[in-house]
Symmetry: C2
Subunit: 188 residues, 2 copies
DNA sequence: GAATCGATGTCAGTTGCTGACATCAACCGT
DNA sequence: ACGGTTGATGTCAGCAACTGACATCGATTC
């Protein structure tokens, strides 16, 4: 048996989500989160660069998976075809997490600072996707725009999925949003 | 003559942009900005909700102008036609401000917290535009997607304009980005 | 079994930000 | 002309986010 309880990060993230849900993000101090997890405030800040980051540990994995998937699509696919394929694959990661995503999303949308953090994670993801497209030979501004368009589809589709009952899958919502974007931009 | 020097906000914004440029955002304290403007830290926080906000006073006006312009396009225009027209009009606001925009953008891109703030301003703008489109009878998710697509075009076009020499106008870059988005999303 | 390591704890300090209250020129009504 | 009100600012005390320096002590390594 180790000197400390295992899975410190997991305990911190669970405690944070619970406390933010109970009394709100601003009304919760880092010391309170740490205390509920059986740790100290200083340890909290060793695991997370700031108080908000405790809700975004999954972002790195999502970005990696997204980039890998996009990079693995056939070179022959047009930029938005590749994005569509990547979106399809990524949606599978969220198949069993509707309830968790719902709780987390409720906390985030209730606070402006957390929305800011969410947006910069999406922007970072868009930048990584644009770089991947460029590596596939797509020129700018096409690469950046395809990445931003993909993020717009992901954002809107995700919001509608998380705001729904969970009966329709995320992949479903993403396909619908992409089709809608195509219809809208189809003008002369 | 008043009891105080006039244009406190203007002095604070100028001092902030200068100091952030000289020594960086994090290395500048709110008290230092206030001091250079001949005011106190407390007064700084009366004018701006937080330290970052001093760089974003123009966002409200931009959003208002954007929304007004979009609302004033003929009801017959399709969503992206209306967005394109609004982008065109908004570009005129930036005709003589390339140098200022360049300095400000350099400061913002150099700091993650400032990039976060910029992103949430754009998100707020997108939400306002989506609401305006809905008021024109556009359904969701089309309204949200058109707004997000418009913001993507604005973002990419603005970045390319601000990173250029200023010879090509912002309107120019926006038209190019929009055309590129249309080309990309035109797939089956 | 000694040396090292790594996750955690302790403590003191800086900065962002806020509430409560004071000041005093300008303005307003009589 | 004069008393009251207003509004932008100043002063001060305090909390919470975050950081650097150093200590602790099981576990691991040689």
């Amino acid at each position: 048996m180790g000197r400390w309880q295992p899975n410190a990060r997991g305990r911190l993230e669970q405690a944070a989500l619970d406390l933010f849900g109970e009394r709100g993000f601003e009304q919760t101090t880092a010391a309170q989160i740490a205390e509920r997890a059986g740790l100290t405030e200083r340890t909290f800040f060793r695991h997370y660069g700031d108080k908000r980051e405790v809700l975004f540990s999954g972002a790195r994995e999502l970005e990696e998976a997204f980039v890998t998937t996009l990079a693995d699509t056939p070179e022959t696919a047009a930029p938005m075809e590749a994005m569509a394929s990547a979106l399809e694959t990524i949606a599978a990661f969220f198949l069993d997490s509707h309830e968790f995503a719902r709780r987390r999303h409720a906390v985030i949308t209730a606070n402006a600072e957390l929305r800011e953090r969410e947006l910069i994670k999406l922007a970072s993801l868009a930048a990584a996707l644009a770089a991947t497209l460029r590596r596939r030979g797509v020129k700018d501004p096409a690469a950046s725009l395809a990445a931003e368009a993909g993020m717009a589809v992901f954002k809107i589709g995700f919001e509608r999925w998380v705001g729904g009952t969970g009966e329709r899958t995320l992949a479903d919502h993403l396909r619908e949003s992409l089709a809608e974007l195509r219809a809208i931009t189809a003008g002369a």
